[in-house]
C-alpha cells in the first residue's frame, strides 16, 4: 500500500514504514534506547531525503519516548532538577544544531555531514559499549561477582564552580558538566535526528555519577523535550518535518517497543549492552563503507534553494 508523503513529496510503501517502525521500536524496547540512531539511517537508505529523515526522526523519537517517560514518572524515577539543567544545555545545543543543519543544507553537504556525524558518534559509542560490556562479562566470569561501581568517586569534574544539590540523584555537583552534556546531546540530536539516549545514559552514569535508578527516567525527560525543540525548530526554520512519515513510524514503533521490552527483561545486562554495542558499531561501519567506497554515480541532483 503506497502512501504519499506530503513534505518529502514522494510516495513510499506504508507497510515498509510500519515494518521499519516496528523493528526499530522492538530493538529500542529491548535495549531501552530511543532507536533514533537506527531509524534515521534506515529512512535515508530507503530513499527519504536526509533533511526529512532527520527532522521526522526527531519527531518520531519524541513520540516514542513519551510513553517511557510517563511510565518512569509514575515510578518517581525522574530527577526533574537535573533534567531541567540538562535541558537548558539541550535547548541551546539543539538551537545551534538546527542552524548548523540549515547551513549544511545551503552548502549542499547535508547528506555527507549526517553520515559523517553518524560514523564518528556511533563508532565511538559502539566501541566503548562493546569494550565496557565485554570487560564486565569477563570480570563476572572470573570473579563471579558484580562489577565494581564507580559511584561516589571524586574526579576533577567535582572541583568546578556553580555547585548545585540534586536531591533525587544524591549529588552535589557543579552545573557545568550537566549543561555541557545537555548541550552536546542537543547539537547531535538536531543534526542526526536522534534523541541521544544511547549517549546520554552512559554520560550520566560515568561522567555525572548519577544512580542508575533515575538515569533512564531523567534521560527520557531530556530526550522528550529536546526532541520537541528539534521538531519545532526543524518545522519552523527548515520545513522538513513530515507528519505522515512520523505517524506511520510511530504506529509501528509503539507496538514494537512493547514486544522488545517484554523480551529485554529476559536478557542479562552485560549481554544486552554488548549486543547493543555491536548493533551500533554495525550501523557505523555500514555508513562508513558508504562514505569510503567509490560511488556508483559521481553526480547527484537536488533542488537548488
Amino acid at each position: 500500500m503506497q502512501v504519499y508523503l506530503p513534505i518529502a513529496e514522494m510516495s513510499v510503501d506504508a507497510l515498509l514504514l510500519l515494518g521499519i517502525g516496528f523493528g526499530v521500536g522492538w530493538l529500542s524496547g529491548l535495549f531501552g534506547v530511543g532507536g533514533g540512531f537506527l531509524l534515521t539511517p534506515l529512512l535515508i537508505l530507503i530513499g527519504i531525503p536526509s533533511p526529512v529523515a532527520v527532522a521526522s526522526g526527531a519527531n518520531q523519537t519524541l513520540g516514542a519516548s513519551v510513553s517511557g517517560l510517563i511510565a518512569q514518572w509514575r515510578r518517581d524515577n525522574v530527577d526533574v532538577r537535573m533534567g531541567v539543567v540538562l535541558l537548558a544545555g539541550g535547548f541551546l545545543g539543539s538551537a545551534l544544531g538546527v542552524q548548523l543543519f540549515a547551513a549544511l543544507r545551503r552548502a549542499g553537504q547535508v547528506d555527507i555531514a549526517v553520515s559523517f556525524f553518524y560514523v564518528v558518534v556511533l563508532g565511538t559509542v559502539g566501541l566503548l559499549m562493546v569494550r565496557e560490556s565485554v570487560r564486565a562479562i569477563i570480570r563476572r566470569r572470573r570473579t563471579g561477582g558484580a562489577a565494581p561501581s564507580r559511584l561516589g568517586e571524586h574526579t576533577w569534574l567535582h572541583g568546578l564552580p556553580f555547585k548545585m544539590r540534586f536531591r533525587k540523584s544524591r549529588l552535589y555537583i557543579s552545573v557545568v558538566p550537566p549543561l555541557l552534556v545537555g548541550f552536546g546531546i542537543g547539537v547531535l540530536s538536531a543534526v542526526m535526528g536522534v534523541g541521544g539516549g544511547f549517549m546520554l545514559v552512559p554520560a550520566m552514569i560515568y561522567l555525572l555519577g548519577m544512580p542508575t535508578s533515575v538515569v533512564i527516567g531523567t534521560s527520557l525527560f531530556q530526550v522528550v523535550f529536546v526532541a520537541a525543540n528539534v521538531t519545532l525548530l526543524q518545522a519552523w526554520q527548515v520545513g522538513t518535518v513530515d507528519i505522515v512519515l512520523t505517524m506511520l513510524l510511530l504506529a509501528g514503533g509503539v507496538a514494537g517497543a512493547q514486544f522488545g521490552a517484554a523480551m529485554g527483561t529476559k536478557l542479562r545486562g552485560e549481554e544486552t549492552r554488548a549486543l547493543l554495542g555491536l548493533l551500533v558499531l554495525g550501523v557505523a561501519i555500514g555508513l562508513a563503507w558508504d562514505l569510503i567506497r567509490a560511488p556508483e554515480n559521481l553526480f547527484a541532483i537536488g533542488p537548488a534553494r
Binding site: 503506497q2 502512501v3 504519499y4 506530503p6 513534505i7 513529496e9 514522494m10 510516495s11 519527531n59 518520531q60 519524541l62 513520540g63 516514542a64 519516548s65 513519551v66 510513553s67 510517563i70 511510565a71 549542499g108 553537504q109 547528506d111 555527507i112 559523517f116 520537541a228 521538531t231 519545532l232 525548530l233 526543524q234 518545522a235 519552523w236 526554520q237 520545513g239 518535518v241 507528519i243 505522515v244 512520523t246 505517524m247 510511530l250 504506529a251 514503533g253 509503539v254 507496538a255 517497543a257 512493547q258 521490552a261 517484554a262 562514505l291 569510503i292 567506497r293 567509490a294 560511488p295 554515480n297 559521481l298 553526480f299 547527484a300 541532483i301 537536488g302 533542488p303 537548488a304 534553494r305
Partner: protein, 250 residues
C-alpha cells in the same frame, strides 16, 4: 414527413460544410483530464493526449505529430562527489536556474528526423535542444549528468512512450508523471510537422495539485510552520501516549 425534415437539414448543412472546409483545422487535440490530483495514495499518474489531423499521418504523407509536455521551472543543482582523504564528499556544483521540472517529448518519428536543428532549438524540441545554462561549474559532464539523472527518475522523458496512430488520422500519446511530480501548471504542446516545418500547433494546459489531507498538510507546513511544528509535537506525543495505553503490559 421525417425524411423531408432530414433532407432539409442535410441541405442546410451542405453549404455550411462547404464553407468550413478551408478553415477545418489541420490539427485538433485534447487531454483526458486537465487536472492531476495528488492524493494521500498518489503513486504517479498519466494523462492521455489525443486528437485528430486533417490529413493522414505517416511516412507516406510526410506528416508527423509531436507531443511536448512542460512542467514548471525547477532550479536544480548538480553536485559532483570528490574524494577527500578517502571520503567521498560533495565537491563542485553547477546550478541550473531555469530548467523545467518536468519535460516529456513523444512523436510519431524522432524530431531530429523530421525537423531542422534551428526549428528544434527554437521550439525546444528534444532534450538536446533544451538550453541548459549553468551557474557555477561549467564542465559539460554536469550537463550530461543532469540529463542522465533527470531521465532516470522519470522527470525528463524522451520518446519514453510512443504517439500511436489509429485509422491514419487519430493519434494519442500517454504522458506519465512520476510520484515525485511537482505541483503547478503544466503545458502540453501538440505540433503537426510537414516537410520540415511546423504547420499547426495547439497548446493545452493541465494543473497538478495536491488535494485532501496531503494538500492541507503541505499548505499548513508552508504557511504556518510554527503552528505546524507545534501540531507535530502534540500529535507525536499523543500517539506515544495512546500507544502506551493500547499496548500496556500488566
Amino acid at each position: 414527413m421525417r425524411w423531408l425534415a432530414l433532407l432539409v437539414a442535410l441541405l442546410a448543412a451542405l453549404p455550411a460544410r462547404a464553407q468550413q472546409t478551408p478553415s477545418t483545422p489541420l490539427l485538433t487535440a485534447d487531454l483526458s483530464t486537465d487536472r492531476v490530483e495528488i492524493t494521500t495514495g498518489f503513486t504517479g499518474s498519466s494523462v492521455i493526449v489525443f486528437g485528430a489531423t486533417e490529413n493522414l499521418i505517416g511516412p507516406e504523407t510526410g506528416e508527423d505529430v509531436v507531443v511536448l509536455a512542460w512542467g514548471p521551472s525547477q532550479p536544480t543543482v548538480v553536485r559532483r562527489k570528490v574524494n577527500v582523504l578517502g571520503f567521498w564528499v560533495n565537491g563542485p556544483a553547477a546550478t541550473f536556474p531555469e530548467i523545467p521540472g518536468f519535460y516529456a517529448i513523444a512523436a510519431t518519428r524522432p524530431v531530429w528526423q523530421v525537423l531542422p536543428e534551428e526549428v528544434r532549438r527554437s521550439g525546444r524540441l528534444g532534450l538536446d535542444a533544451l538550453p541548459l545554462r549553468a551557474v557555477g561549474a561549467q564542465a559539460p559532464a554536469f550537463r550530461a549528468a543532469l540529463l542522465d539523472l533527470k531521465q532516470r527518475d522519470g522527470r525528463w522523458q524522451e520518446y519514453a512512450a510512443p504517439v500511436t496512430v489509429a485509422g491514419g488520422r487519430l493519434f494519442s500519446a500517454r504522458v506519465s508523471f512520476p510520484d515525485t511530480v511537482q505541483t503547478g501548471d503544466y503545458r502540453i504542446e501538440v505540433l503537426l510537422v510537414r516537410e520540415q516545418r511546423i504547420v499547426a500547433r495547439q497548446e493545452l494546459f493541465l494543473r497538478v495539485d495536491r488535494v485532501g489531507s496531503a494538500a492541507t498538510i503541505a499548505y499548513v507546513a508552508r504557511t504556518a510552520p510554527l503552528l505546524y511544528g507545534v501540531a507535530c509535537i502534540v500529535l507525536a506525543a499523543l500517539a506515544g501516549w495512546l500507544g502506551s495505553i493500547l499496548f500496556r503490559r500488566n
